[in-house]
Amino acid sequence: MNTGTFMVLGIMVGVIIAALFLSRKAQKKECEYDEMQLKIRAKGYQIGFYTALFLMIVLILLCELNCLTVVTPGFAVYTALIICVTVFAIYCILNDAFLAIRGKANRYFMMFGMVVALEGFVFVRSVMDGKVLEDGKLTFGSGAPAVMAVCFLAILITLAVKTVRNRKEADE
C-alpha cells in the first residue's frame, strides 16, 4: 500500500471517530434542531446524496472515456465526496438549518478558518517544494488540502454572509 492509501484510510478512521463522537453528543442534547431545521436538513441530505450520485456517474464516464488525465480516480472520488459535504453544508446554512437552536456562528468561524489556513498552508508548502504533480498527475498529498481549503472557504464565506443577513433581519 502506498502513502495515498494510508492517507485515505486515516481520513476514513478520522471521519468514523468524529461521527461517533458527534452522534453521542447529539444524543445528549435533546431537541438540538427544531422541526423546521430537521426538515431542511433532511432535504439537504437528499441533495447531497443526489450530488454524489451525479458526480459518481460523471466520474465513471470520464474514467471510461479516458478523460481523467490530470488526477487519479481515487483523488477524483475524494473530491466528489468533499463537494457533496460542501453542498449539504451550504444548503443548510442558506436555509438556517446549519446552526442548532442556540448555536453560535463564532465557534464555526474559528474552526473553519483554522481548517482553511492549515490546509492552505500545506498546499502552498507542497507547491513550493514542487510536489504538486507526479507523472503529470495531481498528487493526493497536495490536491486533498487544496480541495479541503477551497470547500471550507466556500462554507466560511456562506456562513459569514448568512450571519450578517440574519443579524440585519433580527434588528429590523
Binding site: 431537541c31 427544531d34 422541526e35 423546521m36 431545521q37 438556517d96 446552526l99 437552536i101 440574519n166 433581519e169 433580527a170
Partner: protein, 64 residues
Amino acid sequence: MKNLKLKAARAAKDLSQEQLAQLCNVSRQTINAIEKGDYNPTINLCIAICKALDRTLDELFWNE
C-alpha cells in the same frame, strides 16, 4: 400567506422574534419563517406558540 395575526400577537406581548423563539424552544428563523408564511408549523409548535402568547389556536392560526 403571511401570518400577521401571529406578528401582531407577538408585538402586543412586546416580544421579539428571538424571545418568542426561546419560549417555544425553536430558532428565531423558524418564527420568522412562520410569520412570513414560508413554513407551515406542526400542531405541537402551534400549541407552544399559543401558550407563549396566551392565545388560542383559532386566534393565531385559523383563516376564514
